[in-house]
């Protein structure tokens, strides 16, 4: 995977060919990873719960492709996409999901705790609304140290109703932190419709109450996300303070694998056919001639083989041993 330390944040509003290929690779990697986890989970080999990000790729990649090595992100229980977009090693991620010793967290965390501080990835998070307070910390550190770093919290529509999220937005505004709050509104907090549970209806509307700009973006459209995130991140980096961006989209799978999804109708079929971020991205960049179908197919093949490798290696890797129980319990600073 591309290392975020080495990847240059794009400049200007029209991404380069190299950047577009990188973006497509990221989105395709997330999709393949999730489709494969979906299939493998059904075999019963994967322990615990997994919450899949398929359908939401443009959000993670559209935001993270504007970040550089100074920046940090905090994720959610639906965190695989954010990890991949931030450059966390895919082979290690898969091993972690399989609970193997070679995993990102040595097989002790699983899907909901994948973290890699070396990549500025503060972690997936099983606590709904757990991410925003974390990024207030890293954003404050960046501000006090003058690193120019920006911190991004991803959270869902359910997370947007949590006190932690609301307190964090208030604090970020009061302290004028270099923070961006990304509300990924996929329509449901588990099985509860956000149209019912979010009193302000649009999460972005809450920004006004915290004295920050709030915008709504088509979360299926990489270019829309990238443009809004680029402005919000540049603003935060320049000392302009926090922004709230609400992505509107849907997830392609249930809340967790095994969710019967009796609470929704045909929206996934519609989204896959009409709105899909990968399809739209591919159509756009080939129409403009920026990339060719052959370029994209080559990426597809590379990604497919990477995911095969990740699953094969994960299945072959050892489980943590009894002796590993007491390792990594305490960390010395």
């Amino acid at each position: 995977m591309t290392d975020t330390e080495e990847r240059k944040a794009p400049t200007g509003r029209t991404p380069t060919r190299e950047h577009l290929l990188d973006v497509y690779r990221m989105m395709r990697t997330i999709r393949e990873f999730e489709e494969r986890v979906h299939a493998e989970f059904a075999t019963g080999e994967i322990p615990g719960f997994v919450h899949l990000y398929a359908g939401e790729e443009a959000s993670a990649v559209g935001v993270c492709s504007n970040l550089d090595g100074r920046d940090t992100i905090a994720s959610t229980h639906r965190g695989h996409g954010h990890c991949i977009a931030r450059g966390v090693d895919v082979v290690e991620m898969m091993a972690e999901i399989y609970g193997r010793k070679t995993g990102s967290c040595h097989g002790k965390g699983g899907s909901m705790h994948i973290a890699d501080l070396s990549k500025g990835m503060l972690g997936a998070n099983g606590i709904v609304g757990g991410g925003p307070p974390l990024i207030c910390g890293t954003a404050l550190a960046a501000k006090l140290k003058g690193t120019g770093g920006v911190s991004v919290a991803f959270f869902g529509d359910g997370g947007s109703n949590q006190g932690t999220t609301l307190e964090s937005m208030n604090l970020a505004s009061v302290w004028n932190l270099p923070a961006v709050f990304v509300a990924e509104n996929n329509g449901y907090a588990e099985t509860t419709s956000s149209a019912w549970s979010v009193a302000s209806d649009n999460i972005a509307d809450r920004a006004a109450g915290f004295g920050m700009p709030g915008v709504i973006v088509d979360g299926f459209d990489f270019f829309a996300v990238h443009e809004a995130a680029s402005e919000a991140i540049a603003r935060a980096r320049d000392g302009g303070g926090p922004t709230l961006i609400e992505m509107k989209f849907t997830r392609y799978y249930g809340h967790f694998e095994g969710d019967q999804q009796t609470y929704r109708a045909d929206e996934v079929e519609h989204a896959r056919a009409e709105l899909d971020c990968l399809k739209r991205f591919a159509d756009r960049v080939t129409e403009t001639g920026e990339l060719s179908r052959a370029d994209l197919r080559a990426v597809d093949a590379q990604v497919a083989s990477l995911i095969d490798q990740a699953v094969d290696e994960a299945k072959a890797a050892p489980l943590p041993a009894e002796a590993d129980l007491l390792t990594d319990v305490y960390v010395r600073y």
Binding site: R13, D201, N202, D205, I216, E227, E231, K248, T288, G289
Partner: protein, 359 residues
């Protein structure tokens, strides 16, 4: 004559695009959109509108109106004609996609159901989409968006009275509506329309849709360009004003180094220096070619169509745009004709009892 029916379509997403981030554009709260509809219901009730067809949405507007209807208690003090709200039918039953297609679908259903006026709450983009589906039914566009030129910023009660007077037939047809101009853009077999302006941008992607960087705009076509407008048409509004009632439009090429420079408010909180050259009138029917070989075309301030080499987009001014309710003219005529005058003991027009939505 059938029932006096008014259709009301409200866009839950208007007033929330990237301009809140890149400029200081205002946020138009959902609650205020719902309040506007309630104020209109009061006005409709006062002038005898019988039914209202209201679009449904996931943004909370129709839900708030529904709750308000449940709570609304008609009171009949002698001096209040406004207590009775018309029957409100919520246009549900179709999937809501949170795209412009929702507006097209709702307006289409209103036209089919016999709406005599369609009130549209949103920005220029919403009005453009509603107009495309309204056919010959008069449109009354109210602003709840960002930098609106076409929809009026006007108190909803007043708009509701005017729409109601047209829908009930109290207002004679002549003079109540005006025919707007329309810009038609063709790219290959794709066609889009604009009510105010068409801008050609060198940006490659539709992205966040709003055009807020004039440096990327190379060509501008305006159905009208008012000196006090906000948005791209303001560029020509200061150099070559054209009213919305004149038959022609105006077009120009934009370039940073052009000898003629003008300060233009192209978005709320964004006043920029724009270089303009080759200003020409646009006559109805004449076709104007787009110079750029590739880029994006924005209609009424929103990037909508992409085009590449080999496609040669063309823009045409048409005289047969939507029929629009002229609120000032309707109420002026009402004053002349005494349409809102009542005898002291007159109980007002017969209205139906307040009835909840049928959802």
């Amino acid at each position: 004559m059938g029932d006096a029916i008014v259709g009301v379509v409200a866009n839950p997403l208007s007033g929330r695009d990237i301009r809140r981030l890149v400029t200081q554009a205002s946020v138009f709260p959902t609650a205020e959109k719902a309040n506007m509809i309630q104020r209109m219901l009061t006005a409709f009730g006062a002038v005898g509108v019988q039914r209202v067809l209201l679009s449904t949405d996931l943004g909370g507007i129709s839900a708030a109106v529904y709750r308000a209807i449940q709570r609304h208690r008609p009171q009949k003090p002698q001096n209040r004609q406004d207590a009775r709200w018309p029957e409100v039918d919520f246009l549900d039953g179709q999937p809501i996609r949170q795209t412009a297609q929702d507006t097209v679908g709702a307006v289409g259903r209103m036209v089919t159901a016999g709406a005599r006026v369609i009130v549209c709450l949103g920005g220029d983009g919403t009005a453009r989409v509603a107009a495309s589906a309204a056919g010959d039914v008069p449109l009354l566009a109210l602003s709840t968006g960002t930098n609106n030129v076409f929809p009026a910023v006007r108190e909803a009660t007043i708009a509701g009275l005017a729409a109601g007077l047209v829908a009930t037939g109290a207002m004679p047809p002549g003079g109540a509506t005006t025919r707007a101009k329309l810009l038609e853009v063709r790219v290959g077999d794709r066609t889009e329309t604009a009510l105010v302006d068409v801008a050609v941008s060198t940006q490659r992607h539709v992205g966040a849709r709003a055009v807020w960087d004039p440096a990327t705009v190379t060509q501008l076509f305006c159905a009208f360009a008012e000196p006090d407008a906000i948005g791209l048409s303001s560029v020509l509004g200061q150099l070559h004003p054209v009213t919305r009632h004149e038959p022609h439009g105006v077009t120009a090429r934009l370039a940073a180094g052009a000898p003629r420079q003008v300060l233009a408010p192209i978005a709320p909180g964004l006043v920029v220096l724009v270089g303009v050259r080759e200003i020409e009138p646009m006559h109805p029917g004449s076709v104007h070619a787009v110079d750029a070989r590739a880029g994006v075309i924005a209609v009424d301030g929103e990037r909508e169509l992409t085009f590449g080499p080999g496609e040669r987009p063309a823009v045409r001014l048409r005289a047969d745009g939507p029929r629009c309710v002229d609120v000032s003219a309707v109420l002026a005529a009402s004053a002349r004709l005494g349409l809102l005058r009542r005898a002291a003991a007159d109980p007002g027009p017969a209205g139906t009892d307040v009835k909840g939505g049928n959802t």
